[in-house]
Amino acid sequence: MMNDKPNFGQTAAAFIGTSAAILAIGLLNVWSEFSTEIKTRLTLHAGIGPYSGKVLFGLLIGGAVWILADVLLLRMKNGNIVRWTFFFTLAVGAGMLMVFTPFLRLLLGE
């Protein structure tokens, strides 16, 4: 029965990839607040504005990290699901903070 358990490596890679996507979107948002040039570069669609680049690049970064983690953790058999869930929750919390305008104003010293 124990041998029927799926390899945890792919699940861990998914935790890392999804966390990376959330953190990347948040970090791109923070970065764009600090640099007008980055804000301009992230504007892939004039109607949507910099949000277009933040989301697209954030998801692409998350996808790339996921693939890399999947390869690296291929042999990982077991993992502590509670720890991974905790790590994921922290990433979501950090991601939310990085898109919360009062926090950004605090970082900018306004």
């Binding site: 029927d4 358990k5 799926p6 792919q10 699940t11 998914a14 935790f15 999804t18 996507a21 959330i22 979107i25 948040g26 948002n29 109607g47 949507i48 504005g49 949000y51 989301v55 954030g58 998350g62 699901i81 509670v82 991974w84 869930t85 994921f88 929750t89 979501v92 991601g95 939310m96 898109v99 919360f100 305008t101 009062p102």
Partner: protein, 154 residues
């Protein structure tokens, strides 16, 4: 054929409602889980993820008229409560995308670890927590969207 903005907004709100309704079904199945129930949890969570992706997609389409000159965004920023856009709407934009990503993680857990969710309490609690987390983020997005729409409709 392009739907009128009002119709697109209704579809966007409806899809958000579908996500919220799917949650109660999926969560109830997860709490009183049985062998047959895990299949329903899988269907429910996948439906939530699909509805969230569609909600985000329609939201991005609606973001263009919202952001256009003379649109609700300009109206809010020129009015007495600009923080409705600068704080609330800006948070909502990203929270919706985060909700889809969180639900993707839930889909992976219920798809890959169905038997462990059934047998191991730790797996079941972790999956339940990720579902609750996604729902909190969806509720936040939904509530903020409804409030902003009330202040300045499309």
């Amino acid at each position: 054929m392009v739907l009128p903005i009002e119709a697109q907004a209704i579809i966007h709100g409806f899809l958000g409602t579908v996500v919220l309704m799917s949650f109660s079904g999926a969560f109830a199945e997860l709490v009183g889980l049985s062998k047959a129930g895990i299949r329903r949890v899988r269907i429910g969570v996948t439906a939530m993820f699909a509805a969230t992706v569609l909600t985000v997609t329609t939201g991005i389409i609606l973001y263009i008229p919202y952001r256009a000159a003379g649109g609700p965004r300009s109206e809010i920023l020129a009015g007495p409560i600009p923080w409705v856009h600068t704080i609330l709407f800006e948070l909502k934009e990203y929270a919706g995308v985060y909700a889809a990503i969180i639900l993707l993680m839930a889909v992976i857990l219920v798809s890959r670890h169905g038997d462990q969710i059934l047998a191991e309490r730790r797996f079941r609690l972790s999956t339940a927590w990720i579902l609750v987390l996604s729902m909190l983020v969806v509720l936040l997005t939904y509530g903020l969207g409804a409030y902003v729409t009330k202040i300045a409709p499309l």
